[in-house]
Homo-oligomer: 245 residues x 2
DNA sequence: CTGCCTATTCCGGTATGTGGAACAAGGAAG
DNA sequence: CTTCCTTGTTCCACATACCGGAATAGGCAG
């Protein structure tokens, strides 16, 4: 179904940085003819996935995506079971904790617990490239190589000096992660930020990942294994609580 | 684009109650031939909007919806600006407060602040039929009749004795809401539950709604206007804070 | 008013999606 | 183990629904 791939490319144009786009922007980004883009957008408007305030205004993503997102959230085990252990991990380590979920094709960050005085604020739903984050690499490493390879076909964007941008480099690292049971993101996504992650499993299937994140100074080599123990224990605890329903 | 309407009908099959469906379920619900459903689902799988754990397993909505939902959330003004006033309203009234957003086509509930001891818990993203809730009716009433009519074409499900199931009844009520500036849901969605709502406007455009909800006993006729004053004031305050960026 | 930029409509050819029918793959029952 | 039945999946010839270049309409700035 070719038309749906066009839909996909068009949806890909939207991002948190550019949530509103004109027809020509989209045509240019996708390389599709303007007419075709217009027809697809027009149909997406019909079904509520795209919204245009007035004719000749920019296009935006429709709230129907949020509504559908709500259905997914209510069906996911990870967010429910992870919240409490994640908060505990945050207090144990004093560092920010990320939770993300995995459905076999996408890695999506759904919760972030941050130390903010004594309270923990929850921010939701951000996009995460799978090859350059602690959680993403933990998930990739927990999958068979073949499956993992399908998830990294996208473009390799270099966020920092340390970002991995070669497939064989990545799979070498995944092997290490597999062996020791946790992943480390050493300033690969953002300068000055390190991160230790582990996959969450449910009935032998990878369903998500958890990680602690913080400034390099607070994450010396010596502390990594200590954090890793806590992270993997929390990941296991979450997995276990899911098993029990 | 006919195929996208099929996509829409297929997506509509999924709900919080039935987040996982088999091919035949979907074919039956939509009335589409099994082969067609299979082809569409297969393509939706390709682009990450639908997920199937293993071949011959049930189909589920893909996490990409969540990821896209995150983009929308970050672009919406209402959630950011409404949280604080909504919490204040909850404490003023001692009742649960709902926030929903509107994009010209869909009404989606995004926040619910509930009195739970002294803490307020935030639950997110539920689906709301627009004709039978305080927030939904407040939004419909804030729109020109013609626009509102386009939003209520769907089926009229009778949730309780009081649910409005006739278009002229609804528009009669909308006129009243328009005149007095707030909406009342008198056990129209759920027995024993009343609710007072008002639309949130941003630059003369309706962008959402806010409401207080509670058991009938705590919402006598005499209290409604009192609550309405607080709700409309809060709605206006939210609208104002959006204007200012 | 004029020029230039958008979004939108038109239309004939053909690629693209269509859906009935046949096929495989598990699961349940005997 | 075998049989039967239900489920998802593949095949293929047909015709329809999509394609995209070119022309149109509508807004905004100068």
């Amino acid at each position: 179904m070719k038309s749906l791939h066009k839909v996909s490319r068009i949806l890909d144009c939207f991002s948190a940085e550019e949530p509103r786009l004109g027809l020509n922007d989209i045509a240019e980004k996708t390389g599709l003819p303007r007419t075709t883009v217009h027809r697809v957008l027009s149909s997406l408007k019909d079904i509520g996935l795209i919204v245009q305030d007035r004719n000749r205004d920019d296009y935006r993503l429709g709230l129907r995506f949020l509504s559908i997102g709500g259905i997914i959230l209510s069906d996911l085990d990870v967010p429910r079971h992870a919240r409490e252990p994640a908060a505990a991990l945050m207090h144990q380590t004093g560092e920010a904790v990320h939770i993300c979920v995995f459905d076999g094709g996408n890695v999506v960050s759904i919760d972030r617990h941050e130390m903010d005085g004594n309270r923990n604020e929850i921010v939701r739903q951000e996009r995460e490239p799978p090859y350059c984050t602690g959680t993403g690499k933990a998930i990739l490493a927990a999958l068979p190589d073949e499956t993992a390879r399908k998830l990294v076909v996208k473009e390799w964007k270099k966020f920092t000096e340390n970002t991995i941008t070669q497939e064989d480099r990545l799979f070498h690292e995944l092997a290490i992660i597999r062996a020791r049971g946790y992943s480390v993101d050493d300033e690969e996504r953002q300068n000055g930020i390190r991160c230790v992650g582990a996959a969450i499993r449910h009935q032998a299937r990878v369903v998500g990942a958890i990680s602690v994140t913080g400034p390099k100074q607070r994450f010396p080599e010596s502390r990594i294994p200590v954090l890793a123990d806590l992270v993997t224990a929390t990941a296991a605890r979450i997995g276990l609580s899911i098993e029990q329903g």
